[in-house]
Point group: C2
Chain length 549, copies 2
Amino acid sequence: MDNPAAVGEAPVRFETDPSRYVHWRLEIEAPVARLLLDVQEDRPLRPGYPLKTNSYDLSVDLELADAVNRLRFEHPEVRALVIGSAKDRIFCSGANIYMLGSSTHSFKVNFCKFTNETRLALEDASAHSGLKSLAAINGACAGGGYELALACDEILLVDDASSAVSLPEVPLLAVLPGTGGLTRVVDKRKVRRDLADVFSSLGEGVKGRRAVSWRLVDETVPLSRFAARVAERAQALVSLAAEKAGPGVVLAPLGGGYTPEGVEHRHVSLRIDAAARVAHLTLRAPEAEEPSTAAAMRERGSDLWALRAFRELDDVLLDLRFNRPEVGVVVLETRGDAARVLAVDAALWSGRGDWFVSEVLHHMKRVLKRLDLTARSLLAVIDRGSCFAGSLFELALAADRSYMLDAAGGPTLATSQLNLGALPMSNGLTRLGTRFLAEPQRAAIPPGETYDAAVALEAGLVTFAPDEIDWEDEVRLAIEERASLSPDALTGMEANLRFAGPETMETKIFGRLSAWQNWIFQRPNAVGEKGALTLYGKPERARFNWTRT
Amino acid sequence: MDNPAAVGEAPVRFETDPSRYVHWRLEIEAPVARLLLDVQEDRPLRPGYPLKTNSYDLSVDLELADAVNRLRFEHPEVRALVIGSAKDRIFCSGANIYMLGSSTHSFKVNFCKFTNETRLALEDASAHSGLKSLAAINGACAGGGYELALACDEILLVDDASSAVSLPEVPLLAVLPGTGGLTRVVDKRKVRRDLADVFSSLGEGVKGRRAVSWRLVDETVPLSRFAARVAERAQALVSLAAEKAGPGVVLAPLGGGYTPEGVEHRHVSLRIDAAARVAHLTLRAPEAEEPSTAAAMRERGSDLWALRAFRELDDVLLDLRFNRPEVGVVVLETRGDAARVLAVDAALWSGRGDWFVSEVLHHMKRVLKRLDLTARSLLAVIDRGSCFAGSLFELALAADRSYMLDAAGGPTLATSQLNLGALPMSNGLTRLGTRFLAEPQRAAIPPGETYDAAVALEAGLVTFAPDEIDWEDEVRLAIEERASLSPDALTGMEANLRFAGPETMETKIFGRLSAWQNWIFQRPNAVGEKGALTLYGKPERARFNWTRT
């Protein structure tokens, strides 16, 4: 069932743009944008399940992810986003059940991770980009549909006899709401836990005044006044954010080259060693001087190294997750001139008051979070020719382990201001802060320091620093050994070790909620022959093994 | 495989005392106690797996749990506990693998939950009882053996060529360390995450100076000086805690009556409706006046209602978890005079400066946490004759939902000082605080208030308050509906909704770590025909499906 061949013949591609959207309509009337869900039921990602009643699959969600990202870069004039539906009396009925029922376990888990990242990106846009969002629920809103609304700053529900919000996963499908629903209900909207319990076990959901008094939505509005009230609230959201100066920056296509052997982008390569189940992921420093002022950076647009390289990295991470399921170890490598990376970091830091530069930094942050959350073993190899400096040093800090060559004239590490807070992890700490929980003073490294292997080892910045004699064997053995271990045990181990320190809503979603959901996605009561997910839509009723664990 | 019949023919009983210990020796030389692990390999809980090399099963761990609890009540003169081994050059090799390999999923999960609660009880004794602990590791210390050490305040490791601490679960068994190991390594001992990664994927573990410099142990000591150094450090721990006055209080046997239909204790009953998969758990208020001063309470000893009733409740919860796996819904009921419960609470609160009274309160707290962590749906039924007052009101607050009869002369709820902080949940909040995350002022209820159903509903203290006409049907339907849902989905849902708000090491262990571990315990790579856990000790090597999720 987890045979990668069964995952799908055609690899998933994540690049898109509004002109190619199939399932969403993006309408901009600055300062408000509207994203209207209008799922084309005959155009799912893969044949086999019609996307009825505005239900979604990955092809729908990757357009949403693209739209939210593009709004931040291309439409600084937009300060409120209304997420609605183009279909009458249906907002969104959530993830398509037949898609879930027919997917491999690995695909289901990765699908949910991606949709979670998309919802968090919506919240990130609200927190850091002055792009507030409003869910305008014009009718049926179930499961993932409501979870999308939960990620918005405000939820308006049409007040009629039938429109309700619901999380029917537990009673109807014997699985959990997979996109942060339970966590956001009690931790973001702070719904009382017993009411959340009733709500989450009630197939038909909650509507009208009860939905408001339970804090599930902010307001209900009769259909006749719905559009006007949505517009009014959108204007109110606009007023929460400051205006941004200057035109947007269009995100040009990356146009990478994809083969079974890997991916080639301008600054990022992925090379797959399929037999070893190892991927080599290489980031290259800028090859020429990069602009140093905010104005010049905006001029450079999406060709700016810091933006393009991290967009490429993002694309490669998604390719790895969805199209290379058997790769167990990702070797993180860098190539090029560390000074150029440090100059980029310095320019970004000094220009961070500019909205575009700020967006570039927040984008880098999100991509690095995607790396932290990628369920593959990450080994940083700091060898000759590498440039783990500043923002690229974060790759080594994101790795489960790092190996640094200790040799005369060997590689160095370097810090920049960006290691000190601009690129936090999901737990809210810097990667250095997470690393040095026991000795927080070690995390406060001055920017601009350079470390050779011996000093880096002493400072606790790398895991191992073999000399030239041991280097090749030690790195090779580490990779081989890692690739030989159980992929499941490694996923669980890494999920527990990577995020020490404080928990946030984000880490709760990926750690606690996702882990429980992965468990349930394996259980016969959901996916067995008589499981509820398997039998959904069929006349036969699910049969449960009643043992409680 | 999850057929309860296969879980074991003989039900597990949790009551024991030092005179009946099989696997531990408790030696007391006040102010130091020593608990020496000396597992009798031919006396496992169930036949089929010898407990070689000081490996443990539930029968070993329940003695440990008993010992730690008894030390707090019976031996106030003890201020440091040395946990060591009576076997030469073997400390503890962890949970018995063959026991795990031959257990049902449900048993494995419940076993790990219990061992986790025991480790947390050790830490609770250190934090609140002045009973500090020291792990004296005299030799091999693997897996659960090291996890036991991690729960101690201090870890001493003998320094020789072979003695190491290890978490070999991932490389050897393709499962996670099940008793908080990963969490405690990075969150309690704050081992650097990359070193934790190396350590947790290294079958042979880490010894000597490296173990110290990686923060895995506090000190290594040559064998010749080991005993002396352990004694020295134990004395140092003694000096951290204040002396307690007066003699200990012996915990008399509860001697409950156990039948297939339930459990009968003096103050607590469990009645099983097997066909409905529902249990009725009833706590009864004191039947006569309880002592009101600390001295009188100590005089009453383990017959004190607050101590005995909660010991009985603890016993019943463990019986439910291990011996009644198919019960899905637990109906929480109380009977008796609320005034008596409130008087008990007032006496406990005013006497809390006394060590014994303080122990009673902390014991109540631990039992209520055990209730929170019990993976069954909890419905509180507040009907005529009930006494959900003060400490017993916590039962209703621990429930996933509560139903209160709204009728003239109907039941009332009442608050006491104990609802305001003495009985916190694992997340560090009171149950009222968790309930009212959105409106913290509602959680600050004055003690001594009484609420009838209408007022309680208005104050958000109960979920539903049907009148006499609807009462029976509504409660019956709620129970039936709940019992009809997938037990797995409910377990996951409740684990996510019960612990809103802050995360602590404790909630991380039960939420994040346990959920991942449950997932892995289901995966063919661990428990399939060719899984590593299944094949452990056999000549055949595990075969993995390499798909990463």
